[in-house]
C-alpha cells in the first residue's frame, strides 16, 4: 500500500510538477497498480506538507553541499525526502513512514533506489530546461516528460 507524492518545486516555491503514485515494486492486491492509495484526508494535505518542508530544505541546502538531502522532514505519518539541483530546483518525495506493520513493504526500497530515482529525474529536468521555449519556474506540462517520470517511477519504486 505504499503510496508516494512526488513534486518538483521551483525557486519561487511553486510546484512545477506533481505526481501521486503507488509503489510498483509492492503492488496492492486490488485497484489499479500504480495508482496512489492515499486517503482523501491525506491527499488534501500533501501539497501543504511539501510546502512546509521547504523551510527545512532551505536550511539544509546551505549546510550541505550534497544534491541528495535525504530525509528532511516528517509529519502526520509521512516522511519527506529531498533533492536539490545547483539551480535551486527542489525534488520532494513524500511517503508513509515505514512502521512495523508495513516495514515489509518498504524492505525493497532503500537509499540507493531513491538516489537513483532522483538522479534520473534530474536528468529529465535538465533536458526540459534546455528547451528554449521552457523558462525556469514554468510548470512542466509536457506529456512526454510525464510519461518518462512514470517510467522512472516504475523502474525504481
Amino acid at each position: 500500500m505504499a503510496s508516494y507524492y512526488f513534486t518538483i518545486i521551483g525557486t519561487l516555491d511553486r510546484p512545477l510538477y506533481e505526481l501521486e503514485f503507488a509503489s510498483f515494486k509492492n503492488p496492492t492486491a486490488q485497484g489499479v497498480p500504480g495508482k496512489s492509495q492515499f486517503s482523501a484526508s491525506v491527499k488534501e494535505i500533501l501539497p501543504f506538507i511539501a510546502n512546509s518542508s521547504l523551510d527545512v530544505v532551505e536550511d539544509a541546502q546551505w549546510n550541505s553541499n550534497q544534491f541528495h538531502l535525504g530525509k528532511i522532514d516528517a509529519f502526520f505519518g509521512l516522511q519527506v525526502n529531498g533533492y536539490i539541483t545547483q539551480g535551486n530546483i527542489k525534488f520532494l518525495l513524500c511517503y508513509e513512514t515505514p512502521t512495523n506493520a508495513n516495514l515489509a513493504l518498504h524492505a525493497k526500497q532503500d537509499d540507493t533506489t531513491l538516489k537513483q530515482f532522483f538522479n534520473e529525474v534530474n536528468d529529465l529536468y535538465v533536458k526540459c530546461l534546455l528547451n528554449p521555449f521552457y523558462s525556469v519556474n514554468d510548470a512542466i506540462t509536457s506529456p512526454d516528460f510525464d510519461l518518462r517520470v512514470k517510467l522512472i517511477v516504475r523502474k525504481y519504486l
Partner: protein
C-alpha cells in the same frame, strides 16, 4: 473542500496556460490547474507504462528530446565563424530594437542570462558522475564559473578571478580574449558598447540560479598585447553576503 470551488494554484507564466477544462491526451501531462488529479495513473495509462508501447503523445514523441543523451562525452563541433556570424547579427538586431546603449546591453545581458541558467544545470549534471558537490559558498561558486563553466562554454578557463580591494561585494573575472567577441568589430556609431554584455549575462544567469544574486557587467581593459581583454565585474547583492556570514561555519 467543496466540489465546486477549486482553488487554483498560482500558475507560472508559460506559453499557454492550461485551464481546468483541459484534459490531457492519453492521460499523460501534468496540468497545474488541476494538480495531481490531472496526471494520476489509470488503467489505460498503466497499460502503456507496463507494455512500453510507443504512442504519440506529441508530434515529436518518437524522437523526443527526453530520449537524447546529454551526458555523453562525444560532442558535436562546429566552426567558430558560425558563432561569430550569429553573434554579430544578434548584436545588430539588438541594436536595431534598442533605444540606447544601456538598453542594448540589457538586451544582450537578457539573452545571455537564459544561456547561463541552462549551462549551469547542464554542467553540474554532467559533473555529478565525478562525485562533485553543489556549490554553496560564494567564492567556490565563482571559482566554478571561472574554471569549469568557462571551459565548458569557451574551451578554456578564464584568466583571472579577483576580489575588489576596497569594496567587499565586488569580484572580477578577467578574460584576455573572450570567445564571443573575438571576431566582432564594433562600428564607431555604437559608442561604448561592450558586446561581452552577453557573456556577462551568462555569468549573471548562472549566479542568480544558484542563489548568489548579483549584477554583472563587462568592461574593456585593452592592453598592447591583448586588445580584447575584458573584465567582468560581479556585484553581489547584500543578502548573499549576509547569508555567507550567518552560515559561514564549517561545512558537513
Amino acid at each position: 473542500m467543496s466540489e465546486e470551488e477549486i482553488i487554483l494554484p498560482s500558475i507560472a507564466s508559460g506559453v499557454k496556460s492550461l485551464t481546468v477544462n483541459d484534459r490531457p491526451m492519453h492521460e499523460f501531462g501534468y496540468n497545474p490547474s488541476l494538480g495531481p488529479h490531472s496526471n494520476e495513473i489509470t488503467e489505460s495509462s498503466l497499460n502503456i507504462l507496463l507494455n512500453r508501447k510507443t504512442i504519440s503523445l506529441t508530434p515529436t514523441s518518437t524522437h523526443s528530446i527526453y530520449d537524447r543523451n546529454i551526458l555523453g562525452t562525444k560532442k558535436h563541433e562546429l566552426s567558430i565563424s558560425s558563432l561569430s556570424f550569429l553573434f554579430g547579427e544578434v548584436v545588430s538586431w539588438s541594436h536595431r530594437s534598442s533605444k540606447g546603449i544601456q538598453d542594448l546591453e540589457n538586451r544582450l545581458n537578457g539573452l545571455g542570462y537564459k544561456i547561463g541558467q541552462r549551462t549551469l544545470e547542464l554542467v553540474k549534471l554532467r559533473e555529478r558522475f565525478k562525485n562533485t558537490k553543489r556549490e554553496i559558498r560564494l567564492v567556490e561558486m565563482l571559482q566554478f564559473i571561472h574554471s569549469t563553466l568557462w571551459k565548458a562554454l569557451f574551451g578554456e578557463s578564464a584568466n583571472e578571478l579577483e576580489r575588489s580591494q576596497d569594496i567587499n561585494n565586488e569580484y572580477m573575472i578577467t578574460d584576455n580574449c573572450p570567445l564571443m567577441a573575438k571576431f566582432i568589430n564594433i562600428p564607431k556609431d555604437y559608442g561604448n558598447l561592450n558586446c561581452s554584455a552577453l557573456t556577462a549575462g551568462i555569468i549573471e544567469g548562472a549566479l542568480d540560479s544558484a542563489g548568489f544574486y548579483a549584477h554583472v557587467s563587462a568592461h574593456s581593459v585593452p592592453t598592447d598585447y591583448m586588445p580584447q581583454r575584458t573584465v567582468f565585474l560581479i556585484k553581489v547583492e547584500e543578502e548573499v553576503l549576509i547569508r555567507e556570514d550567518l552560515r559561514g561555519g564549517p561545512m558537513n
